[in-house]
């Protein structure tokens, strides 16, 4: 068993523990509709976390996803008259394009993406306000029933939550089994090393940022369609949740390590926790404290495990030297 499998199992264990602790007090955690709702609640942060996770694996971080999702939400509702599917496709493509442009600038400027995307985070939010005329935009109420199919459940899945799961599998496959995906891991694990070995830096950066933006766009559009409206101020908190999911899911901030499946585990760990605490009727600061505590716990555990493996490796190197 590789160390990565081990760490993923440990994370899975943590997720199950959180689930069981809360399930003991919340009956709906066992019921089919309850699980369906939990899955649904993970869609927004989940789809976005997949994209952000990919940029983190590349050793970058896309901070602009929240604004991108809000922008996509406004755009998709405004395009609703042309039909939902065309609107969705246009929005996702457009966001993907914006993301590619952003990735290209980051590559070309050779600048830290955290610096650059703080700028786009602010600018895109402003643009969203401008595009929406600073008002929440709505699907006409007579048409709102048209979006019902997005909330319909098939067993425990809805279309959005199935989309999330399919996306996770797809992106996981992409990241592990394709040249472009491996390039993302390579430049995250060692930018200069990968470049010296002949890996193009431009392609993986552009690919990671355009996937991240396209997924943020998809999440924003899907969620806005489901609720039938989009607010220019929406999706502000999603970045922190997505990044937290990635971190709990084992994606290293330094890049190059982690897996998209791990992100899913991290995501459900916080969803179980946050939804559970809210469902118990506890005030917000309890959610806040619990999330913070969980994150601190995970990173300290990680630091400890890392320390121990380094010691072991050193000891092993000594005995085999």
């Amino acid at each position: 068993m590789t160390s990565e499998t081990k760490s993923n199992l440990a994370r899975l264990g943590l997720m199950i523990a959180v689930y069981l602790i809360l399930a003991a007090r919340i009956p709906s955690y066992y019921s089919q509709p309850g699980i369906a709702a939990l899955l649904d609640s993970a869609v927004l942060a989940g789809i976005i976390a997949v994209g952000v996770g990919l940029t983190m694996i590349a050793g970058e971080m896309d901070l602009s996803v929240g604004s991108m999702a809000a922008f996509a939400g406004i755009l998709s509702i405004q395009l609703f008259p042309y039909g939902m599917v065309p609107a969705l496709v246009i929005v996702v493509l457009f966001c993907g394009l914006l993301g590619a442009l952003q990735g290209f600038c980051i590559y070309k400027l050779n600048i830290s993406s955290m610096v650059f995307t703080i700028g786009t985070l602010i600018a895109l939010r402003g643009l969203t306000l401008v595009a929406s005329n600073e008002k929440t935009v709505l699907i006409p109420f007579e048409n709102i029933a048209e979006t019902d199919f997005l909330s319909a459940k098939f067993f425990v899945f809805s279309i959005p939550s199935a989309t999330l799961l399919v996306l996770v599998l797809l992106v996981d496959f992409f990241s592990r089994r394709t040249l472009w995906g491996r390039e993302i891991f390579a430049i995250g694990g060692g930018r200069g090393e990968a470049r010296a070995a002949g890996v193009s830096i431009r392609r993986p950066i552009i690919v990671a940022f355009s996937i991240s933006a396209a997924l943020a766009g998809l999440a924003g559009a899907l969620l806005s369609f489901r609720t039938g409206s989009a607010s220019p101020l929406g999706f502000e908190a999603v970045l922190l949740e997505a990044v937290t999911a990635c971190l709990i899911g084992g994606i290293a901030l330094a890049g190059g390590r982690g897996s998209i499946l791990g992100v899913l585990i991290g995501l459900f760990t916080i969803r179980f926790l946050v939804s559970g605490i809210a469902a118990l009727g506890a005030p917000f600061w309890m959610q806040s404290l619990a999330t913070g505590a969980l994150l601190i716990f995970v990173i300290i555990a990680e630091a400890a495990v890392g320390y121990i493996t380094r010691r072991r490796r050193m000891a092993r190197a000594l005995t085999t030297a």
């Binding site: 600048i111 700028g119 600018a123 401008v130 890049g255 994150l295 601190i296 300290i300």
Partner: protein, 318 residues
Amino acid sequence: MTSQDVSHRAKVTLPKTAYGLIAILVLLVVASVTTPGFARVDNIFVVIRAASLTGIVAIGMSYITISGNLFALSASALGALLAVLFALLTAALGFAAGLFLTLGIAVLCGLAQSVAISLIGNPIITTLAFGTVFRGLAALSSGNSILRIESEAALWLGTARPLGIPTQSWAFIIAAILSWFIIRHFKIGREIVLCGANPKAAVASGLRVGLVTAIACAALSIGVAVMAIMTVSQFSQAKADLFMGYDFDYIAAVLVGGIALRGGKGTPLQAALGAVLIALLQNFMLLHGLSAGVRMTIVGLLVIASISLFHILQGRGR
């Protein structure tokens, strides 16, 4: 986390603060030509006042950045916690005690974060987690109510204008000069810069990296405390939802000031200039009656443009 290759090319020799000054001058000229009422002296004071509190925190944040710890995401939440605690302590023990205890607690919060950063090795995650905890504690200790204080001294601190300049602006100017002086002329300042430049070499040279992180975190916490105390004093009240969503403002000021995120370079003065530049632009747009969306878009573009410019001027693009 940075995408730069480690390359050392020739640098443009003009100090980066000069670019900030030039940008401010250009904006000033353009603005004063196009905006009636903009170039008046009192409007300049208004802008500096508007930049003051953000600027003080940005100055603290620049210590984090220069010391090689990127940035902290817990400043706004810590601000809320400190505001609430300052109000509680002042109400219970009086202004002086409230002031010093709050500063003390701020330093402790900074130290706690620095210990965690040293253990975990990642300032962003650590402060992300601490931020949620601070906000939770702020809500918890405020009991979800508005905390009012009645203190003449606090009111003076929050609203007085010695020599016609608001206390907040005094604090900002003093903080900028003081922190520049510390970085430039104090031994610990040099240590901060060196630790940011290369932490491993700093350890090997016997520099106190742990202490440096602690000082940087404490500097930010003190900046946050000053902001919190002055805000509470000005309005004689505190709430747990103060400063919500401000973190990116502080970071934007640091970035617009042209401080390299990789650490080891730049001075707190640049963060102060960045804050003034953003406030100047905001003021200009406010006076032009631009809508919130347009204002935000332009500030975002300013951040992008200024960081790109600094970057290209240093010849780091591809």
